[in-house]
Amino acid sequence: MIRSQEMLINMGPQHPSTHGVLRLILRTDGEFVYDVDPCIGYLHRSLEKIAENLTYPQFIPITDRLDYLAAINCNFVYCHAVERLMGIEVPLRAQYIRVIACELNRIASHLIMFGTTGMDTGAFTPFLYAIRERERINDLLEELTGARLTYNYIRIGGVAHDLPDGWKEKCLEFINYFRPKIKEYNDLLSYNVIFMKRLGGVGVLTKEDAINYGVTGPNLRATGFKWDLRKNMPYSSYDKFDFEVPVGTGEGGKLGDAFDRYMLRIKEMMESSKIIEQALLSLPEGEIMAKVPRVLKVKEGEVYFGAENPRGETGFYIKSNGGTKPERVKIRGASFSNIHVLKKVLQGVLIQDLVAILGSFDIILPESDR
């Protein structure tokens, strides 16, 4: 009697397609994966312990390292949480600049997702095209903030620098250059029959499971649930721009499958470019920084603020006892729950599907390991 023996494969922390130091212990029978046990913690730097020993402004550059593909979004969530705790009113111009920077960073982060999903299914070229666009965004952000990856641009009460002159035209010119590129991506990869067959109907996540497992952001919207914090709980003048919230439509096969999650990012890039254009055209004059004392003493109290990061709802719970250093900072990483749901979604798939589904969830490890 031929008895097939179970194989325990270690899709270890060092693997070409685990998007960082994630370790998946697979119980497989040949190609067929029975059970997955994700192990995280390889990138744990105890940011929450560091936060308790640093003053409020000093912790801002550390939040860059939370989700390094969308550093400005993480700066923004932290600074806005502290502003809500202290009740600081950010001037309108600073809010607009923050929206522009965050949306640029969102496009850069979604470009990486587009490139790596292509590479996970075997196509190398889309990644290079995505990096070509991302380089232009990096140049723009380098002129604005001074850095190319860990921007450290947003301060408590406003932003560090104003727009350099000529930056506005460069940014608008980038938007016009970028829009036809999205159609090119769709021709090259999205509607390619092999790609659609590889991602369609695979790794289906229902809306109930998504909410139950705390999945947020594009992965939640891919299940057909229209929930975007920028739209439903507007913050930092997002309600002044009109943009749609793309939702999973099941065009690749089933509703909530890997293709929906992928297409959602492509559509969101288009929406973000709309927001940037509107914000740039209606940029008000005024200062860029509220009156904030140099040595920040935050009054007693606690706050939780979660914003719509490219990967989901990243939130900060800050509890302060009135000193210059916070008593407790809890960082809710979006990828923490996105990895947790892998346990449920990756049951009974082929190894190749496992890689494609992992790519479509667009997880990032520093945000989940903190």
Binding site: L54, P57, Q58, F59, I60, P61, I62, D64, T125, R132, E135, D139, E142, E143, L144, T145, G146, A147, T150, N152, A160, H161, P164, E184, D187, L188, L189, Y191, N192, V193, I194, M196, R294
Partner: protein, 155 residues
């Protein structure tokens, strides 16, 4: 019939995909890579490169030391009040994360970012940037004893 239509759609998408790549294959000069050692990209004016402190204008106040999250700046000052001067100023550049908080907090504006980003060295000790030379140290101590404030001297 459905199978024929599906094969037709499949071939159409495959061909469209090929057309996209062929466009870049035969488009001359579409390469965007910069041949690094020969050609160099000039960083933006606001680029946060390796730090430099113009010790002549520095008053040794130590604010940058306090704002640095990683505590990689060492300052020792000599003299009191307006005539205070740094006799030892060092930055452990291998620990520095170029966040720029110190440059923003420097009241004199003497601590600046250069646009140099190539910081590789052959010996780890070279990563310990010292800014005050022996000769400057002696001169600063004399000036501080005579009580000459920093501003007049550099005017």
């Amino acid at each position: 019939m459905k199978a024929i239509k599906e094969i037709g759609w499949a071939i159409k998408t495959l061909v469209i995909g090929l057309l996209v790549t062929v466009k870049y294959w035969f488009k001359p000069g579409s390469e965007i890579t910069v041949q690094y050692p020969d050609e160099r990209l000039t960083p933006a004016p606001r680029f946060r490169g390796i730090l430099f402190n113009d010790v002549e204008r520095c008053t040794g106040c130590g604010i940058c030391k306090m704002t640095c999250p990683i505590e990689c700046i060492e300052v020792e000052s000599y003299g009191k009040g307006k005539a205070r001067r740094p006799i030892h100023y060092a930055i452990k550049i291998d620990q520095c994360m170029f966040c720029g908080l110190c440059v923003e907090s420097c009241p004199e504006g003497c601590l600046i970012h250069t646009d140099r980003y190539e910081g590789s060295v052959y010996d780890l000790k070279d990563l310990y940037y010292q800014f005050v030379t022996e000769e400057q140290k002696k001169r600063f101590m004399e000036l501080a004893d005579k009580g000459i404030p920093v501003k007049e001297e550099t005017k």
